[in-house]
């Protein structure tokens, strides 16, 4: 597909501004009524989902041109999908996220590149991870856990750690704890260790589609070799790409894909994971965009008139993963959940996605702080989430703003309750 293939989507915009707001039924206050970090931070309409579509349409009609500043506008967006979900509450014929992705690919095609993104892609090509860390050290986190190495053995469940978890020392205890929870439940678990690569999803979101395809092929072959029937990942970003992007690119992994919270919840339901210890804590849960609305599985492409598209094929975000993390969280004795105003498919983004953290860290932190304030307003003692990118940016934002709110990965609390001592730090 090319940008021009989305002309009808762009022209469909009525300019109603719904893409800037939480779905109207769910607006509960003045303070937390908005949903798009980009327009909230930069204010010109061009920074909204609608505004970016108008830019695309304007370029296609020869009214304006793509230049450095327009490319910046296109990329100062977390690709969080809040605009798309909000638009689709009311409309059936506009696929906003796809237009945003297409605009990014168009920028790359036209040579309008963001320096920090180029650096990231270079690092990715060099080291197979988006952080530019040495490839050889990717599997170090698993030392001593006794996991199967899928390069030489087969396994039932392949654990794909993802780039952020593999390298972020601050998150290592969490990652190891997740694996130990699964091992303790008797799961036949394997990893690719140093041979694990990025899923390629971030490259796709930045507009580098060739790279994304290569990494998808790579993962595909690894899954095949492992013989795994299930792939579990703790990375929400990666989860969305495997559930949506891969099938959309025609890359069928041939196994069930689960986020680690789903898997742990299953284990808990089956009685294989016992949550015994009380964790007395009033918490609020942040839905990671890529586990929630963007984690909705790929349904089908619809190439006909989208006005005629059956509702069941509309990517509404509602089939994302919202309930399992909450179920798991509330099954921990002592944990009490209080919800923020913006949740589930209309959740506010953490700020880290879409290449924003790398190119405009101030914008990422600003976005995260908005969320921390919302979390704080619930009276919760801690913010819990289920994505390493979210945890990272929330902790950094809290440190920067001085807002005192511990941030946990959901697995941290599960570990505490299951008596796993690999201690979590907030």
């Amino acid at each position: 597909m090319a940008l021009a293939d989305y002309k009808r989507d762009m022209e469909g915009c009525s300019r109603c501004s719904s893409c800037k707001w939480v779905p109207f039924n769910q607006i509960k206050s003045w303070r937390f009524a908005k949903n798009c970090p980009s327009i909230c931070r930069y204010n010109f309409h061009a920074y909204s989902g609608s505004g970016r579509m108008i830019i695309g349409n304007s370029i296609l009609e020869g009214r304006s041109e793509l230049n450095d500043s327009v490319a910046e506008i296109i990329f100062r967006c977390q690709m969080c999908g809040a605009c798309d979900t909000a638009c689709k509450v009311y409309r059936d014929d506009i696929d906003l996220t796809e237009v945003l992705l297409e605009l990014r690919a168009y920028c790359i095609e036209q040579g309008e590149l963001i320096v920090e993104h180029m650096a990231m892609i270079d690092a990715l090509k060099r080291e197979d991870n988006v952080l530019g860390e040495p490839k050889a050290r990717r599997g170090e986190w698993a030392q001593g856990l006794g996991l199967k190495d899928i390069n030489s053995e087969t396994c039932e469940v392949l654990f794909h750690a993802g780039c952020r978890y593999s390298y972020d020392p601050d998150l290592r205890d969490t990652l190891r704890g997740q694996v130990r929870l699964m091992l303790q439940a008797g799961v036949d678990l394997g990893i690719a260790g140093a041979e694990e690569s990025c899923c390629g999803g971030r490259a796709y979101e930045l507009g580098y589609r060739g790279e994304a395809e290569n990494y998808a092929d790579d993962l595909l072959s690894r899954v095949k070799a492992s013989g795994a029937r299930t792939l579990v990942t703790p990375c929400a970003d990666g989860y969305a790409h495997l559930k949506f992007l891969y099938p959309r690119m025609g890359k069928e992994l041939g196994c069930e894909v689960l986020h680690v919270t789903q898997y742990l919840q299953r284990l808990a339901q089956q009685g294989k994971l016992r949550l015994r210890e009380s964790v007395p804590l009033l918490v609020t849960y942040h839905d990671p965009c890529h586990l929630g609305r963007m984690g909705e599985p790929f349904l089908a492409d619809w190439r006909e008139d989208k006005l005629q598209r059956p509702m069941s094929l509309k990517r509404s975000g509602r089939k994302g993963i919202f309930d399992e993390p909450r179920d798991l969280l509330t099954s921990i004795p002592g944990v009490e959940l209080t919800e923020m105003e913006r949740i589930r498919e209309y959740s506010w983004c953490c700020g880290a996605g879409g290449g924003v953290l790398e190119a405009w860290p101030d914008f990422a932190l600003w976005t995260a702080n908005e969320r921390l304030e919302e979390a704080k307003a619930t009276g919760a003692e801690a913010l819990v989430t289920a994505c390493p990118w979210c945890v990272r940016v929330f902790r950094d934002a809290a440190a920067e703003s001085g807002l005192e709110l511990p941030v946990y990965d959901l697995a941290d609390l599960v570990m505490l309750s299951a008596g796993i001592t690999e201690t979590a730090r907030a």
Binding site: P23, F24, F44, I55, Q110
Partner: protein, 558 residues
């Protein structure tokens, strides 16, 4: 990328003027980047021009306070530029109509400055949206009028600058009736405070002590940005006996609102028009209803299940059920302060409905429809769904009058629409799609004829202008002030038949705006329309009307 890909050229702003705008609001908050400007130029809604782009502004500014707005307006005056206010910008009216216009996007002025619980009013800025105000007001047992354009729109823009009709009008009236005061940056940059505010007495009264200029600043339709920029206003709030928050699961089609105490949601149907009319008048006399609208079955189905309507409309029997059996109906939400009161209200409603041979179905406590639909009416949250069927819609025959006159208009509108549906010029919504509301317990009310079209269908786009002319002529035939009073295309024709209203507006404009700095295209200016292509029969009617109704120098025709 080179500029070779740009095939169109546009006016630009001088560096000097641009620097002045930067000085007014800060460099970060001004842009002349064409892609950014086009964000304000794409205005497809209620825009009959198939291109859907309006005039591109030469710059856009984002002021944060009244002083910055003043500085922007003064800079425009100095540099011979025009300016145009923009609150949330839904609808063609917020777009520029001239070259060399600076768009003043008021997005950063977004606060609720005060909710005076005791005196029941709120003071707000332009980019505070209807849903935000309602959410905060409800926490205090109050509610704010939300127009039919929905909760994304600015209550300030509506109350100060354009129309103001909504389903809650039966209880919460019309836009300008709720306006209690305004801070107004005039087209020369001076600030005028309207009503008691100017006497230092606060925001409670629009008509003094202090200047009462509501007639001039607002009138019936609003100046639509043609007389300056309103930076704050106070709006009347109303009693809300419901919960502080309408607890709702889901977002729209899956929405389920917890039925609050003392609230009922009734769908009423009547055997014929006469019985509906009679019942509506009786409801008004009984001071019944918190929300009221005529039930337009085709519109409801087309909004919530457009594919269903497409299929149904091919089936004669179903079509008849929807368009004939369920034709004469209304949707009513009752809200009481106590259980006793709601029981009483419901008993009165039932008596009125059954007295006219009608049927009334309570769907809030007793069926699933109410919990799904109630926020759509209380918060007007489903309005963007009207675009599901075809991508766009427009409206005609919209004015305020007594109920039975409105029903006449609705019937006339239905006939016109049916002809265009038969020709394939607009979407089929069973033709009967009037948006009807009452004001102030039915002392007056509103009707407009909505039509939906497929924005990507050239045949539909080609229908827009002739349909507009046909509706406008029909309005004049029915002695109705056409919606087109705010449409520059017909002012030249219509104004002489309506006491030269347009010339008076121009005088007001000139008085307040000697340098003509405000963009008055939507307020009082004219543009040519090619009438040569319109249906000869309609042209004949128009000529007849012009000959009969045009005012002379001395006054109205005898």
């Amino acid at each position: 990328m080179t500029s070779e890909t740009m095939t169109q050229s546009f006016e630009t702003i001088s560096d000097e003027a641009y620097r002045d705008l930067e000085a007014a609001v800060g460099a970060e908050y001004v842009s002349r980047e064409p892609g950014v400007l086009d964000g304000y130029t794409w205005q497809p809604t209620i825009n009959d021009d198939p291109a859907k782009w309006v005039k591109r502004p030469v710059a856009v500014v984002l002021p944060s306070c009244t002083e910055e707005v003043q500085e922007v307006v003064r800079a425009c005056n100095r540099h011979g530029l025009k300016f145009k206010a923009f609150s949330t910008g839904w609808g063609v009216y917020s777009g520029c109509t001239y070259d060399n216009v600076v768009q003043v996007d008021l997005r950063r002025m977004n606060r609720i400055l005060e909710i005076d619980e005791k005196n029941m009013y709120a003071v707000i800025e332009p980019y505070n949206c209807g849903a935000q105000l309602q959410a905060e007001a409800m926490k205090l047992g109050l509610n704010a009028h939300i127009i039919g354009a929905g909760p994304a729109c600015s209550p300030l823009a509506s109350a100060t600058s354009g129309w103001g009709v909504g389903w809650d009008g039966v209880y919460m009236s019309y836009g300008h009736r709720n306006l209690l005061g305004a801070e107004w940056v005039l087209p020369d940059g001076e600030v005028l405070r309207v009503g008691s505010l100017d006497s230092g007495l606060g925001w409670f009264s629009p008509d003094g002590p202090g200047p009462s200029l509501r007639g001039i600043m607002r009138g019936s339709a609003g100046a639509l940005g043609g007389l300056g920029i309103f930076t704050k206003c106070s709006l009347k709030l109303y009693n809300w006996p419901g919960p502080p928050h309408m607890k709702t699961e889901g977002v729209m089609l899956d929405a389920q609102t917890e039925p609050p105490e003392h609230m009922r949601f009734h769908l009423c149907f009547f055997p014929d028009r006469a019985s509906l009319d009679e019942a509506v008048y009786k409801m008004g006399e009984s001071e019944l209803a918190y929300i009221f609208t005529r039930t337009a079955v085709g519109a409801y189905v087309n909004t919530f299940a457009p594919h269903l309507l497409q299929n149904v409309s091919r089936t004669r029997a179903f079509r008849d059920v929807l368009s004939k059996t369920l034709k004469w109906g209304c949707t009513i939400i009752l809200v009481g302060n106590s259980e006793d009161e709601i029981v009483f209200q419901e008993a009165v409603l039932k008596e009125i409905v059954s007295g006219q041979g009608g049927l009334s179905m309570e769907t809030m406590q007793a069926a699933a429809i109410g919990p799904m639909m109630v926020m759509n009416f209380l918060r007007v949250s489903a309005i963007p769904m009207v675009f599901r069927a075809g991508g766009l819609f427009s409206t005609a025959l919209a004015r305020n009058e007594a109920w039975d006159t409105q029903m006449d208009w609705a019937e006339k509108g239905e006939k016109i629409k049916q002809r265009w549906i038969d020709r394939g010029g607009i979407l089929d919504d069973l033709a009967d799609n009037p948006f009807m509301a009452l004001y102030e317990q039915n002392t007056w009310g509103h009707c407009e004829e909505i039509f939906q079209y497929n924005a990507r269908d050239p045949k539909h786009l080609a229908s827009l202008e002739p349909l507009f002319v046909e509706f406008s002529v029909a309005a004049m035939e029915m002695c109705m002030e056409p919606l087109s009073v705010t449409d520059a295309r017909l002012r030249e024709v219509i104004s002489p038949m309506m006491g030269h209203y347009n010339e008076w507006q121009k005088k007001i404009s000139l008085f307040l705006d000697a340098r003509r700095a405000a963009d008055t295209g939507m307020y009082c200016d004219e543009v040519d329309i090619d009438l040569s292509k319109i249906d000869p029969e309609i042209r004949e009617t128009l000529d007849r009307m012009v000959a009969k109704l045009t005012w002379s120098e001395e006054g109205p025709p005898s």
